[in-house]
Amino acid sequence: MAKEFEPRIVGFLCNWCSYAGADLAGTSKLKVPSSLTPIRVMCSSRVDPVLVTTAFLRGADGVLVAGCHPGDCHYDDGNYYTRRRFAVLKKVVEGLGLESDRLRLSWVSASEGQRFAEVVNEFNEKIKKIGPNPLNVKTSL
């Protein structure tokens, strides 16, 4: 029997809220799917849409961008820009008829270890339903 599909999810986590939330999920010994590879950035506003696209075109089954809740940004308003950039990215991907469901923007605070686990679990399940990213096997990208 073929091995069950294990998604590969890239997770950009902002240092102050979401990465701390992920750590808290750890210290609280919660279960989080191992499919997510966390990538730490200082602020979600560092996450260049081209980086996300790159990950996506390289065959990431899902890309999660997580930052402080609006209003809580450690750098005042970075996450508001993140949200606009992400909206454009999602539109472009959607507009080209690609699977924009593979891209997710979540706000996770430093005290939301539980929520972080939920977000990743949910996203992981969703990606499992969608299946592997077909771009991964396309050679003529």
Partner: protein, 561 residues
Amino acid sequence: MERKIGVYVCECGPNIAEKVDIDKVLNAVSSLEGVAVAEKYKLLCSVDGKKFLEDEIKKHGLTHLVVSACSPKQHEQTFMEVCENAGINPYLFQLANIREQCAWITEDKDEATEKAIRLTKAAIRRVRYHSSLEKKEIECNPDVLVIGGGVAGIEASLQLASSDRKIYLVEKNSSLGGLITNFEKTFPNMKPTSDIIKQKIQDIAENENIKVFTDAEVEEVIGFFGNFEVKIKKKTEENNVVEFDVGAVVLATGSASFDPKKTPGYGYGKFDDVFTALEFEKMNSSGKISLKNGKAPKSVAIIHCVGREEKGYCSEICCMYSLKFACYLKDKIPGVKVSHFYSDLCIPGKSCQKFYEKTTEKNVDFIRATDVEVIKQGDKINIKYKAENNSKNSHPVDMVILSPAIEPTSDTSRLAEITSISQSDGGFFAEEHEKLGPVSTSTDGVYIVGCAQGPKNISETIVQSEAAAGKILSSLVPGRKIEPEVKTSQISESFCIGCKTCISVCPYGAITFDETKKISVVNEVICRGCGSCTAACPSGAATLKHFTFNQLYQEIVEAVQ
């Protein structure tokens, strides 16, 4: 020089060892390009562990270090110090978090091991693209510009002035002291205001480290924390522009009060004997409380919250100074009737309620009222209002005192622009952080104190002045250099096309535009390294040190392998 990466996996006792097959991890990475050595250790953050790492780096002549252990929030700094001690640049190091974000959250050992391998490989890929970063040190000027010669500015100046720190105190009026010089007494202890302010004005005059400019206004403040160039204009004299350098700026420009003419219902400006709080303070200080006709009032109404609706905030001190007015009146005019018209009594803090109770003992009426209107009836003034039980009542008096809201002074926007800080609720100067940064602003080295930051009483004002002093004294030490953030953004001169997108997204005004070269330039002293400009820059001219595209890209590649 050839890259020699050392990879060290921490067992963290059972925490990682039990969940992750560390030998498997070591096998998976030992043959990767550039990896000179891959080892495990019981507990790398322990004294022995750090010693072990240090020896390893020296023994193998490592150029880069990768540690797979716990969260960077736990021990990134620890291992960076190890690097420094062992003589390699601390930024040629990467920590893979295989505890909090792997071992502790993954049930299945194979999965955990597989993830640990991924995270470690990602760290190895990444560290190959790290470059050494060096701490910078910037000379700074310890002198301080204080704008506003009221109690806030005076306090700040006195706190800060010293033999090795010169203070420039700029006041737009002709004398120091500000608003409170109009007050006879202060609540809640009814101490003479002169006790607070007189001596201090004296001290300022006698302090040779404080240069006072009265009748002067600040025209220009350019530069950044530690190095501001200031231009002020003296209104009275010829060749009236003075220039000097400072390291920090304190905005203590105080407040104005709401103009009751904007709410005609209160009859201010229309009827005699309707006074604003400030007018009444002055009248009281002058020694005689009287009506326009020279007689003493037999009955006085004090109307609270004038302009609160319009301003959209509670000015905090109006209830208290209104109570103070009742005391003035009761003490000076035997038998005078005093009635307060208020909606909510706001007397926060430990010492206010007692004052309120004392005042009520002087049989002062407190009427909770809405729809208050002041009309003229014969020679009397009549207060029409809706009482708590919704009945419409009226209340004749000789004199009305209006307690208007506190609002920003007229030059607030101008000064905000000059110092490139923003304005927040109600138009007051915006603090850097509502809670943790009450006196600092989005511009490093520019501080806001007193009512310029928001309505507050005298002691809160003084506390803020002392707070700003604390900030400055601790960060702007004479003879000490400033050490700015290392992981800042930088903009490539050859790639920048001058679209200024970065400038509009930078929350700290750390990026300026070079008009001659037509490109953006990062001031690394101000930049705090969020990287928003880097993501926003269309031409890839902006990069965030230690979080470059390629460094993050390497992690991505591993994640999707």
